[in-house]
């Protein structure tokens, strides 16, 4: 009896582990003349998607989860690449014993179409010219990103995804998956996201784009053989960073502290918050392509799941279960936008749960509120997975 209790409590405290070393793989499709027809009517091909997978597909091929990344994310969502000190961007959520438990589930994440982390985007070579696309890259939408991901999922031999999940732009892709391919999606976890971009959301993105295009090094998007528009991209990233935090989290983190306690040079970074923004702005330009920033933010701004129909028409065909999460202090994707997702689910008689997490981290909370998210996701996935026998 005592032994059993010890065993049970040991199991409970068994620490979640790192998934360890992982590798990015590449899948290429839609080669000429079978190019992908995009939302805009333009064609694109061949298309390569960078992706990673963790865990194993089960015999029924019923345990696949697709993680969708946000604006600046990539396919490397968990584990370590050889030589890396830091793990993937949502490592705390993915691995043995974690929310997305790789002992149970097969987890997939791919870099979006238009990105710059291995998937085809404006910095890729245009086969028609043998030079980087630049602005010859076609306009892409969230729907196009999802369409490209479907080729990958098909190629992996998966007919139904147990779950599509993502925060921010990842949440929009998750919603689009359920709308575009309802027969392939058993559950959706849209986090800190929206059914459509609002004026304010468009406005913040547009200012970021203007900052990039105001940089003479941008050169009409044609900078791959020269100097990239680092200053403009850094400004865009700094704007983004402010919107990802909350007034409270900034005050708690920085207050009005001045570096070394005294006023420095004219217009140098004095306040700690300024140094933080500079640091993250400067780092971003080392790892991100300015044209990808333009294309992807535009995809965000175009996003409107209703897409000419009524929302009810879009949702009435969906049979997936929803776990909708939002964060109280998130003013970039305010909670009312997540409540709108809940509302249309209810109207369409979709089983949906809405969880508002009382975080002060602002929009960044979706990357930081691991404990709350783990609790909610674990429970939700278990329920969906165990109900798999029920035909959708």
């Amino acid at each position: 009896m005592t032994g059993m209790i010890v065993l049970e409590s040991l199991q409970k405290v068994k620490p979640a582990q790192s998934i360890g070393l992982v590798e990015t793989r590449y899948f290429t499709f839609a080669s000429f003349p079978d190019e992908l027809i995009l939302d805009s009517g333009e064609k694109l091909g061949p298309i390569t998607l960078a992706y990673e997978t963790y865990g194993r597909i089960n015999a029924e091929r019923s345990n696949a989860i697709l993680i969708l990344h946000a604006l600046s994310g990539d396919a490397h969502v968990a584990g370590f690449h050889i030589g890396d000190e830091k793990p993937g961007w949502w490592d705390e959520m993915i691995g043995p014993g974690k929310a997305f438990d790789t002992d149970k589930y097969y987890v997939i994440c791919s870099n979006v179409l238009g990105g710059c982390k291995g998937s085809t985007g404006p910095s890729s070579i245009n086969p028609a010219t043998n030079r980087p696309y630049g602005l010859d890259f076609p306009t892409i939408t969230i729907k196009d990103m999802v369409k490209a991901q479907k080729y990958l999922i098909d190629n992996l031999g998966i007919e139904k995804l147990l779950c599509v999940v993502g925060g921010s732009m990842g949440g929009m892709q998750a919603l689009q998956w359920a709308a575009s391919y309802p027969e392939m999606v058993r559950s959706v976890i849209p986090i800190a996201t929206t059914l459509k971009h609002s004026s304010q959301q468009i406005a913040f993105n547009e200012v970021g784009r203007q900052a990039i295009m105001a940089d003479p090094d941008w050169n009409g998007g044609n900078y791959y053989s020269g100097v990239p528009p680092s200053k403009g991209l850094a400004v865009a990233r700094m704007i983004g960073h402010i919107t990802y935090m909350s007034d409270t989290s900034m005050s708690e983190k920085f207050g009005r502290r001045i570096k070394d306690g005294k006023i420095q040079s004219r217009f140098g970074a004095e306040f700690e918050v300024e140094r933080y923004l500079h640091y993250h702005g400067d780092n971003f330009v080392k790892r991100f392509d300015a044209n990808s920033y333009l294309y992807i933010t535009k995809a965000l701004d175009y996003f409107d799941l209703s897409n000419g129909k009524t929302l009810f028409e879009v949702f009435k065909g969906i049979r997936a279960k929803f776990l909708i999460m939002a964060f109280k202090s998130d003013w970039l994707y305010p909670t009312y936008q997540s409540k709108e997702i809940l509302k249309i689910c209810k109207q369409a008689e979709i089983e949906a749960t809405y969880c508002e997490i009382n975080s002060t981290y602002g929009h960044d909370a979706f990357l930081l509120e691991i404990e709350e998210e783990t609790h909610l996701v674990k429970h939700f996935l278990k329920r969906v997975f165990n109900g798999y026998a029920v035909k959708i």
Copy 2:
């Protein structure tokens, strides 16, 4: 009897009138060697302040009201300059029968030190070099702006101001007036403002500054004989504009409407909100100096009324009455910051009223919620003015 009623109702509906044609005047002081010693310890002189006055000073010199402007404002707060189609920036509040009734009060407004609308600022000629100051202009603070204004008020022969009033940065100056010269201030109306700039407020300003300084035309602040950094300044203004509106007011004004209903060229302005931001950004660069933007936003960021003391020490000497106004949807200067002003007033036993106006206009509300403001200001000023006999 009937005649009297008609007369009374006629008086009630008597429309508030425009103050008509007005002129900007200039006051110069602090000539070498009697330069003004600034907060930073640096010296500056001669200093010119552009200012306007409306109404007449009364025999007791007890009816003077000083209006303080916000970041991009100027001395021209009401009436028309010859040839102008648009009146001053707060015309609806100032004039015969209006909130600041020029039939009763003598209204003064001056362009801030560091500005570019007639007062000495970085675009002024440095007498030491005979060229524009540029970055040789010294660091200025809100306290310095107020110190310079005091020379003007002294010169106008006014010993006590009936009221100091302003929104946003104007509110900070109003608070600083009460703190720096308590014996000269009978009442304070701080609107949509704060006792100190928060991390988030600093962050937004810093991104604006970075956008300006990233523009190669900025050239270290030395652009007066060449091309000004218009693109950088426009980006800074666009960031500002987003923070002045609310999510709600943007959605109501623009929604997701696209110009001509169809997607235009790559990364051109398509959404109405984008066109609005471009329009206002482009207009701003025609009327504002980029270096002034740097210096004034830095003055905002340095602003902390406590200035090394406790707030109680600062407020205990103040005898003015306070009317504090804030707006529910203002997320740039959130209502909690105005409540902090109320709190310290109460602790220091200062007579203070706090009014939270239920507006959806965001920070811009201080320029737009004329009816509510008029009601509150009229009543408050009447009470302060009529109590003038009481020695402060």
